[in-house]
Amino acid sequence: MSSGVRTRANGGKVLVYILLIIGVIISLFPFYVSLVHALQPDYYIESSGAPDLWPLEFRFENFAIAWEKGNFSRAMLNTVFIAAATTAVKILGSCMAGYAFAKRDFKGKNVIFAILMLTIMIPDEVTMVPTYMLMLKLGWVNTYLPLIVPAVGDVFSIFLFKQFMESVPNSLIDAARIDGCNEWQLFWKIVLPTAKPAIATMAILGFQASYNDFMGPLIYLNDERLFTVQLQLKAFDRFYNSHFDQVLGSAANLIACVPVIVVFVVFQKYFVESVSLSGMKG
């Protein structure tokens, strides 16, 4: 642990705490006033003075009403399905390829990898229009396939798995070969289990990315039964007629936030790891 050398006398620490607390208030206050708003009763009329810091009544049933109105049961199931399928496909494709690029010799390896790396700089904007036209031709519009299938060749994940696999000792792989594993078994029984930490990080991040994705579902899904949580939340605006509808809107906002915030708080260390993976060496 670094010593207190970096810090000056304790007097400075009070200021540090005050500034950090102000930061936390700024970060979390919008959620707090939303929560207060979401709990207001149906006779509530928005005040014209200071924002309300305490509800007139605690109407927890507002969340149930908003859940029902926004069809969030269905949307949550849809979203979890998309997130799980996308993440599974992405991990399988990139783990296998990452292993091959890191640990195997084959003809054309360097050329293929160079092509992958070249395209990493080309932003998704370029492919948005032609990919949509391709999906239209394939008859995949208004299905989950455009959101799930392309993940199998996700270049960034391949890159991350290759980096990770390079740290797996060769002796482990060679020993398994000598023990009579064929290449297929070797991958499933030896390589994949060693990649567990990387897979866990990818899974958590993949869930978050799929859950929060807005543009993909917006482009490809028209049928309300297929809507994700984000699309249902966006569609919630159509109910806005009265003050109470806005209260329910705040409840819907929080409903959409809770799963991803819970996942973040519980699996925080994976997020921190991913930042160091994707960012730079510490």
Binding site: A50, T127, V129, G153, Q230, G279, M280
Partner: protein, 303 residues
């Protein structure tokens, strides 16, 4: 190596090591070529046609779409907006991130709690953020921002409904949501600065500010450049915020949103594809700067 390959050949029933390697990369490569490489090439062709989703079959029009883009005042407006928005958000998030990273670096109790709380907006879905902030930006005197402005004796303002304030308001929201990411990266950079520098400076009687200005900031320059460029790349891709929170008179129109509107509202695929390439040149230039500065190995992130 030789013996291993021989073993492999014997045990894998005829499939050579090479063949097995191709089996392993096959799913990813098929996905890559169909959904990434092919669309990139196809985009070039589409951008040279007058392709519309509905209507007559497309015909080749050469660089007409590109020429049109440079004479399109709406695209010019969108480009200027995007540039201003990107500068505000990339600088703002890097600066606020630096401040909180410096505070968190000072061995305080509960740093994990502070870090978590400051990071929560980063992982919050953008649709919810925009809906919450639209309500906070309410033009009525009871809106949170008008209440805060009222404390300073000004307002009420119309925020996103005011053509002059809409873009800065959008940027403020984006900085609020994004600075936690910059903070975590910068914090990792700060932790990497060896303590001996600070110890030596302390012996020399340097103040906290001296150390910050003469040790921390210079050593942190590559990290700051990294978060700033990443902010630039993400800023240029901004779509959801202006799509969900639109100011009047194209005041918040960004290039990504304009491309989307051309493609999916007006079905002008050819023109949209051409616009995509123009915007992508900027993003790729930023990426090249980033690659040059940090090397391809550790400098890439699309999170």
């Amino acid at each position: 190596m030789q013996t291993i390959h021989e073993n492999k050949r014997k045990r894998s029933k005829g499939l050579s090591a090479n063949a097995w390697s191709y089996v392993f990369i096959a799913p990813a490569m098929i996905g890559f070529f169909v959904f990434r490489a092919f669309p990139i090439g196809f985009a070039v062709w589409v951008s040279l046609t007058d392709w519309e989703l509905i209507g007559p079959p497309p015909s080749f029009v050469g660089v007409q779409n590109y020429v049109q883009a440079f004479h399109d005042p709406v695209f010019g407006k969108a480009f200027a907006n995007t540039l201003a928005f990107t500068l505000m958000t990339a600088l703002g998030a890097a600066l606020v991130g630096l401040i909180f990273a410096a505070l968190l670096d000072r061995n305080i109790r509960g740093s994990k709690f502070f870090r978590t709380s400051l990071y929560v907006p980063v992982i919050t879905p953008v649709v919810a953020v925009v809906r919450i902030w639209t309500w906070l930006y309410s033009p009525s005197p009871g809106g949170l921002f008008n209440w805060v402005a009222g404390l300073f004796g000004s307002g009420p303002y119309r925020w996103i409904m005011d053509p002059d304030m809409a873009l800065p308001s959008l940027a403020l929201m984006t900085i609020w949501q994004g600075f936690g990411w910059d903070m975590v990266i910068i914090l990792a950079g700060l932790k990497g600065i060896p303590n001996v520098f600070y110890e030596a400076a302390t012996v020399d009687g340097a103040s906290w500010w001296d150390k910050f200005a003469h040790i921390t900031l210079p050593l942190l320059r590559p990290v700051m450049l990294f978060v700033f460029i990443m902010g630039g790349i993400n800023g240029f891709k901004t779509f959801a915020q202006p799509y969900l929170m639109q100011g009047p008179m194209n005041s918040t129109l960004t290039t990504s949103l304009y491309i989307f509107q051309n493609a999916f509202d007006n079905f002008r695929m050819g023109y949209a594809a051409a616009l995509s390439f123009i915007v992508s040149v900027v993003i790729m230039l930023l990426s090249v700067v980033q690659f040059r500065a940090f090397g391809g190995e550790e400098g890439i992130s699309y999170e």
